[in-house]
Symmetry: C2
Subunit: 349 residues, 2 copies
Amino acid sequence: MNDHASLTVFERACRGLPRAHTPIWVMRQAGRYLPEYRALREEVDFLTATKTPEIAARITLQPMERFPLDAAILFSDIMTPLEAMGVPVEFAPGPVIQEPVRSAVQVARIRELVPEEGMPFVLDTIRIVRSELSADRAVIGFTGAPFTLFCYLVEGGGSKEFMWARRFLREEPEAAGALLDVLGRSMARYMVAQAEAGANAVMLFDSWVGLLGPAEYRRFVLPVLKRTVAEIRASTDRPIIYFANGGATLLEAVKELEVDVYGIDWTLPLSRAGATLGSSAVLQGNLDPAALFASEEDLRASIDAVLEEAKGLAGHVFNLGHGINRHTDPDRVALLVDHVHERTAGSFA
Amino acid sequence: MNDHASLTVFERACRGLPRAHTPIWVMRQAGRYLPEYRALREEVDFLTATKTPEIAARITLQPMERFPLDAAILFSDIMTPLEAMGVPVEFAPGPVIQEPVRSAVQVARIRELVPEEGMPFVLDTIRIVRSELSADRAVIGFTGAPFTLFCYLVEGGGSKEFMWARRFLREEPEAAGALLDVLGRSMARYMVAQAEAGANAVMLFDSWVGLLGPAEYRRFVLPVLKRTVAEIRASTDRPIIYFANGGATLLEAVKELEVDVYGIDWTLPLSRAGATLGSSAVLQGNLDPAALFASEEDLRASIDAVLEEAKGLAGHVFNLGHGINRHTDPDRVALLVDHVHERTAGSFA
């Protein structure tokens, strides 16, 4: 285990330790709102970018060079592990799975992920980023959470409602459970491998879990997630972040997950999330990405409102409540990062 | 005002009066899951169907002939009033607005709706349905709520995130407010006209309001909705239903709306919604549409769970928590309607 004294500000906030300021990073910070990303992507297609460690590392580091962000997040795609589990994924431009998984026979064909064999390029990307980034800034590894990957696998791509996925849970609860299980085991291995490659923390994105009510979450998702978290814990002491996007009504259940940090979307005020998750909870979030389009004065007021909401928490990692929009002005991100640092300097010493 | 003795079971539940059973209707009950709807639509395109009173009435009544539902809901499209306000809408097949409204100049060009002039076909549809349906079954009129129509107008069509709409709120709060205002005044007139044409209740669908956090809801949406509700109230005593889809974190604010019934989506248990909305609140909802794909045994258990959640409420109108999926077996709807009626017969006398 790291000596606490050597931890980054980001890791200290994740553990609720004293810290110089509130750390901040931004979901999708390495992406299309950055002109340098768009320039690079004119030369390289998306899949090549995610699968070439030098390029993925370059993209991961682009926002770190431009802004004093406290953490880099791996540039990769949420669908990438599925290919290494035997499911071909195309991008057109959204992800498309030609043969959606909707039967027990198909579930049985899914291979458990061996990250070192199937995804060495991701682990190499993390190694490069960790070696190039200064020691006071963290690297975050990530994956889709089991239910969210389940949604894509069963639906065959993106969707507003993922009704095929929700239907499969109801029509074939045993096969659906088996699919969630293999995804859970695989993502645990994937997170451990990312931590071993140098990620200072790992994050599970449950982007679509807000489509479930609490009863279905408890029945289908929570048991798998508990095992996944336990398997990660058994092999690494790095902080685990779980982001239940749209999960306002699920938090009583989410609280049972022994993760270090709970990501909160922009629709749920942090103080209310904290009231449910308990006084020891560390939260990550949750400025509305749309706030970055407001006047500078309104943007500062919105940032201050999030900081005010976070005051009683054991720890807070500032972030947006969802991915940054591609039309965002990078200068607004600069304002955001500076404002969070200035406002919180010395507050949690 | 109707004499209470002549009210339908549906209206009695909306007012929290004694009733023979819990009334039920199903969002999108007139639609593609019904073979008779698909057969009719082979002969007539969607727009013609919505704009021809005899056909729209026929479609509205199809589920009423097949199932002992307690209420019919007008077959119409949420976008239809926008055309009568001067904004052309195409269907390809989703709604497309060629010139999205993203400036104060464009907002100033929007015409306040005069329902009798711009949408006589909708009012005629309601008159036909009301005259053909037996007096013990209700007819529900509806519209999109101001913010939801705002989303389509600014975005130019459907979207997962409606970022243009959320951005317009932030970038041009005054113009956005003016647009919401004219939508609010127009939808109030539209609801009053539907009630005068014979609708026993009117429902405002706020399908996309879950994209806002509580602060933005209170700042941009709630004041307009309060005026809209007050304007409807001033002209009719018919029950008003407001459905804040995805609005779990907004309910403290939603409670300030003096509507008769609050629609609740499937992610928020009714008892929790009731705890926030107060002991006099009447709720509508909220079976997960995916539950209709489960085994009959599991489906009955899910229905019973909703009824159990509703037990302490002042009134309950059973519904799904979202529109019925097109792949649903109509026989499952028959099971649903019968089960709700049987389980609740004599419970609220």
